[in-house]
Symmetry: D2
C-alpha cells in the first residue's frame, strides 16, 4: 500500500526552497496580502482516507478552480452548451486574452479561460432562479460543507478592477453570445471566483469527479460517468492556463488551478489531491504547487499515462 503520508512529508521537505519564489497575485489587495511562504497539501482517497501537510486547513480564494463547478452545473442542464456556445480546445494564449475570442467570433475556446467561464456563468444565470444563491447551494452540497461561502470583500474588489473581464463579456455580448445583462453576469462571476476553501474542502468538492460522477461520501450521483470523464478530460487539456502541455507532461493528471494559489488534481477511480501555495509562476499557476504535484505523481507513480 502506498505510504501517502510519507510522500507528503517528502514533498514538503523538497519544496521548501521554492516557497517565496513565486509572485503572489496582487491585482486586488485581499489576494496580495497572502504570505508566499504558505504551503498546504491534502490527499484524499475515494474511501475517505485523508493525508495532510502544512497549511492544509487555511482558507484561500479558489478563484478559477470554481470554473469547473460552474461548468458542472451547466452541463447537467444544457446538453448542447459545449457544442454551441463554447469550445473545448486548449487556447494556446493567456487565459484572459481577447485576440482569439475576436478571431473566433465570440465563441470562447474552452470553459476554463475567462471568456469561457463568463459564458458558462451566463448560461448558469439563465438556468438558475437565483444564480448566486443556487450556485452556492450546489457547492455546499458537493463539498459536503455548509460553511463554504463567498468572500464579499474579494467579490467587490474583483468587480472594481475587473475591466478586462468587462471587456470580454461586452465583446461576447456584441457577438450575441451573452444572453443576460452584462453587469449581472459579471457580478455572479466575481462571486463564484471569491469562493473560499481549504485544501481538504477542495478535495471533498472534487471527489465526485474522481469517483465517476458520484459523491463518495453520500453516494449521490452528481454527474453521469460519461460527463464526469469528459470534465476530467477538459481539465487535462484546458485546466492550467497556457501550461496544460507542461502539466500533462510533468504531472500527468487532470487538474485545475486558480490565481489564489490553489490547484486540485485527481487520479480517476482513486483519489483527489489538492495543494495551495500563493506564489505563482509566469503562467499563473502556483509555483510550489506544480512542483509538489509533479513530485506526487513521481513518488506515488500515479500518472494516467
Amino acid at each position: 500500500m502506498t505510504d501517502y503520508q510519507g510522500i507528503l512529508n517528502r514533498i514538503y521537505d523538497e519544496i521548501q526552497p521554492l516557497l517565496g519564489q513565486g509572485k503572489v497575485a496582487d491585482y486586488i489587495p485581499a489576494l496580495a496580502e497572502k504570505d508566499s511562504h504558505k504551503f498546504g497539501m491534502v490527499i484524499k482517497l475515494i474511501d475517505g482516507s485523508t493525508f495532510k501537510i502544512g497549511d492544509a486547513d487555511e482558507q484561500f480564494s479558489i478563484q478559477s478552480i470554481s470554473k469547473v463547478l460552474t461548468l458542472t452545473t451547466v452541463v447537467k442542464e444544457s446538453v448542447d452548451f459545449l457544442k454551441t456556445r463554447c469550445g473545448k480546445e486548449p487556447s494556446g494564449t493567456p487565459f484572459n486574452s481577447l485576440v482569439q475570442l475576436e478571431y473566433e467570433n465570440g465563441i470562447p475556446r474552452n470553459p476554463f479561460i475567462n471568456a469561457g467561464a463568463l459564458v458558462t456563468t451566463d448560461q448558469m444565470y439563465t438556468n438558475f432562479n437565483n444564480p448566486k444563491r443556487d450556485f452556492l447551494k450546489f457547492v455546499r452540497k458537493v463539498s459536503g460543507d455548509k460553511d463554504v461561502s463567498y468572500n464579499e470583500k474579494i467579490a467587490r474588489s474583483e468587480e472594481q478592477t475587473g475591466y478586462r473581464n468587462a471587456a470580454l463579456v461586452n465583446l461576447m455580448k456584441d457577438f450575441n453570445n451573452i444572453d443576460n445583462d452584462v453587469d449581472k453576469v459579471l457580478d455572479t462571476y466575481f462571486h463564484q471566483c471569491s469562493l473560499e476553501m481549504n485544501c481538504e474542502q477542495l478535495c471533498d468538492t472534487f471527489s465526485f469527479l474522481a469517483n465517476r460522477g458520484v459523491n463518495p461520501k453520500t453516494g449521490e450521483r452528481i454527474l453521469s460517468i460519461r460527463r464526469a470523464k469528459r470534465i476530467n478530460a477538459i481539465m487535462l487539456t484546458c485546466g492550467t492556463y497556457d501550461a496544460v502541455g507542461d502539466v500533462a507532461y510533468r504531472i500527468g493528471l487532470p487538474a485545475k488551478s486558480g490565481v489564489g494559489g490553489g490547484i486540485v488534481a485527481l487520479v480517476p477511480g482513486e483519489l483527489t489531491v489538492s495543494v495551495w501555495s500563493p506564489g505563482l509562476d509566469k503562467k499563473g499557476n502556483s509555483l510550489a504547487g506544480i512542483k509538489a504535484l509533479e513530485l506526487f505523481t513521481t513518488y506515488a507513480e500515479n500518472s494516467i499515462f
Copy 2:
C-alpha cells in the same frame, strides 16, 4: 478657372448607377431608415464660393467624422497626447478590432479607429469642464452654425448596442489608458458620434483645416499651421478605416468618413468637398461617396500627389 458646378453635374450623372448598391448601416434603427438612393455633394472654396448638388441640404449623422473634431480640441490642449496615449499609424485592421489593441498594450494605433477616438474622448473629458456641452460649443463655433446638435435618439441607440465600444474602453481601462469613468466616456463618445450636419455644414466645419488652421469666414485661428497640416496628414493615413491606401491611391486627398455615409475631404489651401450617400461599401465607407470623390479629383485635377 475650374467649372466646379459642371464637375458636380457630371459626377451626379455618373454615380447614379451606384445608388442603392451599398449597404446602409443597420446596427441602429435611426441609421437603417435612411434611403440608400440619397446622394448629396458640396464643394466650398476658401473664398466662400459654394457649389451643390443633390441632397446637399439633408441632415445626416456624421458619426466617425466627429473624431477629427474631438482630436482638434485635444491637440490644442494636450501637446503630448499623440506621443503618450495614442499612436498615429494606420492600423491595417478593421476600425473596431480589439486584437491590435491587446498586442500593443492598450495604446490605440491612431485617433480615428474606435479605440483611438475613445481615448481621445477620455482626454477631452478631462480637459473640458462640461464635456458634452463644451464640445458642442466648439463644433458650433468651427461650423459657424448654432443649430448643429446632437441627436439624442441616436446617442441612446448607440449606447444600447455599443457592446464592442464598451469592450474597447474596458480593455484600455485595464491597461490604464482611460482616466475617467468608462460609462461617462462612452456617453460622451456616443453623443459626439450622433452629431448631425448636412453637406454644406460639413464643408464649413472642416474649412479651417483647408485654410492652414484659420476659419476662413471669421478669420479666427483654430489651430497652428503645423497642427492643421498634421491633422490633415493623419486623415490621409488613417481617415478611411482599412481603405486608406485605396483612398490615397484613387482620390489622393486627406479625408474622413463615417458610417452614416458622409465623407469630407480637402485640398490644402483651396477647398473642402463633402459628399453624403448612406449606402456603404465593404470597408464601411460610402460607396457612391468614394466614387464621387475619385471623379472629383480626376476632373478637377486636384490630388495632392
Copy 3:
C-alpha cells in the same frame, strides 16, 4: 474479459454510414487516389493478442504519425531538446500555421505540428550519421518488421508541393532554430512522412509506448518509463492537430493522427489500437477513425479519465 472482436464488429457496423463522407487529402496524387470507403482497425494487447477488422492489412502513408517516432529518437539522445528548441503546449492553431511561430520567435509550440516536427527532424539529422537510413532502421526495430519502408514516390511528391513546409523551415532558420541545411532537413522530413504501414504494423510500432517504454515482443527497452509517459502526455495534448480537446473529450486516450487517414491510440499498460480510413474531417483527422475510437472507448470502457 472484454470481447474485443465483438467490439470491432459492432464498430465496423456503426461506422459504415460515415465512409465516403470525409475528404481524402489531395495535395499529392498518391494520397488522393485512396478510396474514401476503406476502413481498417486493429486492437493489439500487450500480451500480443490481436483483433482485426476491415482493411486492416492494407498499407497506407502514416504521414504525421511518424512525428512521434522522430521525437522518440531525439529525446533518447538530446535531453534538453524540449526545453530549448521546441515547446510542448497545444497550439490552438492549424498544424501548419506560421503565425504563432513568428510571434514566438521560431520556437514551435510542440513537436507534433509541422514546425515542431521539422525542428525535431533537424535535431535527428544532427544526431544520426545517416539520418534517412538510421531512422528507417529504428522504425524497423520498433515495428519488428524489416519490410517497413519509405515510399519514394510520395516523398518526391511531398517535396514538389512542400512550399509551406519550406516556408516554416526557412522562417525557423532565420530565427537560428535550424542547424542543418534547409533542403536536407526537408528531404529527411518528407521521407519520414512517406513511411507506409498497415494497421497491425502501426499497433506493433507503438506498443512500446503502451508498455512503459519496453517493446513487449522483444523485451527491449526503447525509452525510460518516464519518457514513455511523457510522450503519451504530448500525444494527448498535441497529437491530433487543433482537435486535441475534442479527442480527449470524446475518446480520452493519447493518440496521433496523420493526413493519410491513420490514427493510433493507446491505453497505457494495456493495449494499442489503430484505425485507418482516408476520408478526413475539417480538422484533418480521419472522420470515421475518430468515430471508431470514440465507440471503442465507450464499449471497452477504456478511457484514461
Copy 4:
C-alpha cells in the same frame, strides 16, 4: 525664391548630434561596414537645379528603395497587378512579417513590404525576357546614368542570409501567388536590392515621379500622369515601413526608405530630395535622414498638406 542651399547648410548643422546614434544594418557584412557618421543630402528641382551637402557623392546600397522601381516596371505592363496579386494598404506590421500574409491568404498588403516586393519581382520576372539585365537597363534609363549597377557581393550575401525572404516567397508559392521558380525570384530580388547609387543619382532616378511621369532631363514619359500620382500615393501610405503615419505627420511627403540608410522623397511638381545616413531608427528608417527631411519640409514649407 527658396534658398535651398541655405536650408541644406542649416539641416547639416542641426543633424550633427544625431550622427552615430542609429544602428547600422548588420545582417550582412557589406552593409555593416558603413560608418554611421556619414550623412549626405541632395535637393534637385524639376528644372535641374541641384543643391548638395555632406557625403552626397558616396555610393550606398539603395535596398528597399528599389521596390518603387520594380513596381514602376510592373504597372506599365500589368494593369491588374494591384487588383489581383497585391494590395495597396499600409500593413500595420513589420516589413518582413509573415503573420498578415498568412491571414490574408498570400496576398501581400502592399508592394513595399518584402512580401509585396517579392510578388512584384515575380511579375517582373514574367514580364521581362532577361529580368536582371532588363531591370538594370530600365534603372539606367530613368537615372540617366549608365554606371548604376548591382553589387554582386551584396546580392550574394543577401542570398546567403535571406531565410526570411525565402519563407515569404515559399508561403506565397503555397498560396499560388508566385508564378516562377522561387530561387530565381529570390535571385532577381536580391539583385535589385543590391543596386548602388549616391544621393544625386537617387534624385535623378525619382524625378519622373516628381514630374507627373515624365523624365525632366530627357522629356521621355515613363508613366502616365495618373500612374505617377498613384505610385506617389503608395509611397506616402506604404513607403516607410511601420512608420508611414509618423512620416506623413512629421514630413508630409511621399517617400521611400531602405535599410542601407537612404531615403528619397518628392514634392509633386517641384523637386526630389534624397538623404543618406546609415544609422537606422527602431522602425528601420535612417534616423538622421528622417530628421533631415522633417527639417526640410519645415524650412522649405513644402509639405503636401
